[in-house]
């Protein structure tokens, strides 16, 4: 049997056999499959709750925004350090073997496609939302999924081509930057032009622009988005054309690597080794170094304040200001606030009550926090011995080490809801309550993460247990949500406010309870490790 085919088949076979030895993992996979099946069935069998849908061009705009982000990250990576098409075992075993380098490249591309398909599955979870907002059937969701996979694969190939063609060649790097500007400038100019033409009405201008050929013909991002939308709206020939161009672009990129540079080993080595180092650091518990940015940092102000456990918080602040000049609030905060503003602007045009939209935004922010709150510096600290060895009370250390994330979320949510609330014309009480509810949710989520550490020996917010962790958050939240709904049903005046107060109080009580129950995690528990066993031996 061909060596590469042998690896491919046996790798898949051994992964299946491994599931027999790890029933937890098997159950988790089954749960994910069941959840996808349930969402798919819901979207197919249940009637849509909406009788009017948003313009399908908005879906095209959202897809383009996602794809733009993917492609820009790929170009940036390509100019900096390449991609991780290969693994260290490929370098150590395949690169030194007498196998054809082109066959090895194909092996890497196929494996990358497999990973991309698996990681794009989250789109299927949005079947119901896509149906209710845009009237998209399940087959339409599959088309969106295909566009996602196609763009992701092309993006990764683009990274590899850019890296291999421009590595250590500044003039070529400049050329790629110019080419990128030329390719995407019409998009920016077109959007600004149409917004101006619509009398500075952002939503009208954006919608107008999405209907133009400039949007559809923007390289890769426009093609894939337009292809999916054309298929969904029944324009099969146009859809096939756009998907065909995107596919051809991917094929052309493979051809460039395949024909142009069979000696690509050196080009991919640095990225592969860097990725391997990071994975090893995480497995060894050196999670802080593994997740640190590669960006060059200029050290200006120095020193750490605080005394006792509070030194942990002050250390976090020093680190945060090293990472970016705005400290705890970086690009993600900016993106969140701008997204909330755009959402509020679009919602204003649809014409529902402001309160409804602010509450929808609150739900979206709360869901986003499910995935983000467990990634603070306090959680990372618990993978290092320092925090355990500091001679301070475990509860004090727990509070000071997580204050950073609560502080960050409180300010971030204040910005989001004040901006969106002003645009939507919401009243002050609703804005304040939204900030309180969303911030207290972060508090609750962190407390659940530490409680999970006490009982499972690891943070459920990280790794394959994260699905169960999300389920745990929902279960802990349920009494608060139930109380809020009951209050909403039985109270005539100011039901929204009473419901939000009930939810906030519950989040606070449950969070305090979880923290109190988990205070022993920094005193009497196994230091978590992302490796199977706690120690080296």
């Amino acid at each position: 049997m061909n060596a590469l085919r042998y690896i491919f088949i046996h790798d898949a076979k051994n992964k299946l056999i491994e599931l027999r030895r790890k029933p937890g993992k098997l159950i988790l996979y089954l749960l994910v499959i069941a959840a996808i099946a349930a969402v798919v069935l819901l979207s197919v069998l249940q009637d849509s709750v909406s009788d009017s849908y948003m313009d399908i061009l908005w879906l095209q705009a959202v897809l383009m925004a996602f794809f733009l982000f993917t492609v820009f990250v790929s170009i940036k990576q390509g100019l900096a350090k390449g991609t991780t098409l290969f693994k260290m075992e490929d370098v150590n075993f395949l690169f030194v073997s007498p196998l054809n380098p082109r066959a090895i490249l194909l092996h890497g591309v196929i494996r990358m496609m497999k990973t991309t398909i698996l990681s794009s599955i989250f789109i299927l979870f949005n079947s119901v939302t896509l149906r209710d907002m845009f009237g998209v059937s399940f087959s339409g969701v599959l088309l969106v999924f295909s566009a996602f996979v196609l763009t992701s694969v092309v993006s990764q190939l683009l990274t590899l081509v850019i890296y291999s063609q421009t590595n250590s060649r500044p003039s070529r790097q400049r050329f790629v930057k110019i080419l990128t500007t030329v390719a995407f400038a019409p998009l920016v100019i077109g959007i600004l032009w149409h917004i101006n033409a619509a009398g500075m009405d952002v939503t009208a201008g954006l919608l107008e622009f999405m209907g133009t050929p400039i949007a559809s013909f923007t390289p890769v991002v426009g093609w894939a988005a337009a292809g999916a939308i054309a298929f969904i709206t029944g324009q099969y020939v146009i859809g096939a054309l756009f998907f065909g161009i995107t596919f051809a672009a991917g094929a052309a990129l493979i051809a460039v690597i395949y024909i142009g540079n069979p000696d690509y080993y050196e080009d991919v080595l640095v990225a592969t080794e860097t990725a391997f180092e990071k994975t090893r650091d995480i497995a060894e518990g050196n999670i802080e170094v593994a997740t640190a940015s590669d960006k060059k940092v200029k050290v200006k102000a120095t020193g750490v304040s605080g005394y006792g456990a509070s030194a942990i918080f002050h250390r976090h602040i020093r680190e945060a200001f090293r990472v970016n000049r705005f400290g705890l609030w970086g690009v993600s905060t900016g993106v969140l606030v701008v997204s909330a503003a755009v959402y509020a602007l679009i919602s204003n045009r649809i014409g529902y009550e402001g309160a409804e939209h602010l509450l929808t935004l609150l739900v979206m922010i709360m869901v986003a926090q499910f995935f983000m709150a467990g990634t603070g510096r306090g959680v990372k600290d618990s993978y290092s011995h320092y925090i355990y060895m500091i001679p301070e009370s475990p509860l004090k250390k727990l509070i000071w080490s997580n204050l950073e994330v609560i502080f960050r979320v409180a300010v971030q949510n204040a910005l989001v809801f004040v901006v969106a609330g002003i645009i939507l014309g919401s009243n002050l009480m609703l804005i304040v309550l939204s900030i309180v509810v969303s911030t207290l949710l972060s508090f609750l989520i962190i407390s659940i993460s530490f409680l999970s550490m006490r009982f499972t020996g690891s943070h459920m917010s990280i790794g394959i247990l994260s699905m169960i962790y999300i389920l745990a958050i929902i279960i802990v939240l349920l009494p608060g949500i139930a109380g809020a709904i009951i209050a909403g049903v039985f109270i005539d005046n100011g039901a929204i406010y009473v419901s939000l107060v009930i939810l906030a109080v519950w989040e606070l009580i449950a969070g305090l309870g979880c923290f109190a129950a988990s205070k022993g995690v920094l005193h009497n528990c196994d230091i978590p490790s992302l490796r199977q066993m706690g120690g080296g031996n």
């Binding site: 170094v289 020193g303 066993m533 031996n537």
Partner: protein, 240 residues
């Protein structure tokens, strides 16, 4: 100073440490020798209060998880985990503040100089090589002047100068009356700086050798006779 009584640590069905007893007095160095997977790191982490276990571990009479014990203990882990966005000097300042130390600056300067880090004060943790990271780890552990210092494979990744300095530091700490535990699987690295050598295999002490005893063969021969014996009995059990 360090007393371990009947320590057992299990990971599911696997017993990593099985009924370990150990005493290290002030001014003594105990060496943990053993192959990969013998249970050395698990024992060290348990003594430092980083793992749950059954049994009893005390540091100068205090439970190893108490604040009093933590004030007395310094720990150098097998894998250094510096803070990527703190400078070398800030690592020591952070430790000094978190441990509420006074008059620490002079000691910090001396440590940085000794481990050739004084010209790298403003280097970030993420910019350091593995060896430098290990040196920072040693400096952080020694800054609070602990009475007990526990080293887990401390020489891995160090350059020759670092190895020489660390060996000297271990001797000085012992002479200053500290109790030390050093784990290693490199026998050559410990030949002249120990009072007790504990050879670990399969989670147990296979043999305890005191330097004052007449133990005949050299450490390497004793070590391999024990490990090979263990492997042979494993094969026999398998055959039965």
């Amino acid at each position: 100073m360090i007393k371990v009584r009947n320590l057992t640590k299990k990971y599911g069905k696997l017993t990593a440490n099985d009924g370990i007893n150990l005493t290290v007095n002030a001014g003594e160095t105990a060496i943990l020798l053993g192959p990969n997977g013998a249970g050395k790191s698990t024992l060290i982490k348990s003594i430092c209060g980083l793992l749950r276990f059954s049994g009893e571990v005390t540091i100068d009479g205090y439970d190893c998880r108490s604040l009093e014990a933590k004030r007395l203990m310094g720990y150098v882990p097998e894998i250094p985990t510096p803070f990527p966005m703190l400078t070398v000097a800030e690592h020591l300042e952070f430790i000094a503040r978190a441990y509420k130390l006074s008059d620490w600056q002079g000691r910090a300067d001396a440590l940085l100089q000794r481990f050739e880090l004084d010209d790298k004060r403003n280097k970030l943790g993420k910019e350091l090589s593995k060896g430098m990271q290990q040196k920072i780890s040693v400096c952080c552990a020694l800054l609070p002047e602990p009475k007990v210092v526990i080293f887990d494979e401390p020489l891995v990744g160090l350059d020759p100068h670092g190895i020489r300095e660390l060996k000297a530091v271990v001797s000085e700490l012992r002479d200053a009356g500290k109790a030390l535990i050093v784990s290693t699987h490199i026998i050559d690295s410990v030949e002249d700086s120990w009072d007790t050598t504990l050879i670990m295999n399969k989670g147990r002490f296979a043999r305890e050798i005191r330097r004052s005893e007449q133990f005949g063969d050299d450490l390497e021969q004793i070590y391999f006779s024990i490990i090979d014996e263990g492997k042979a009995s494993e094969v026999e059990e398998g055959a039965e």
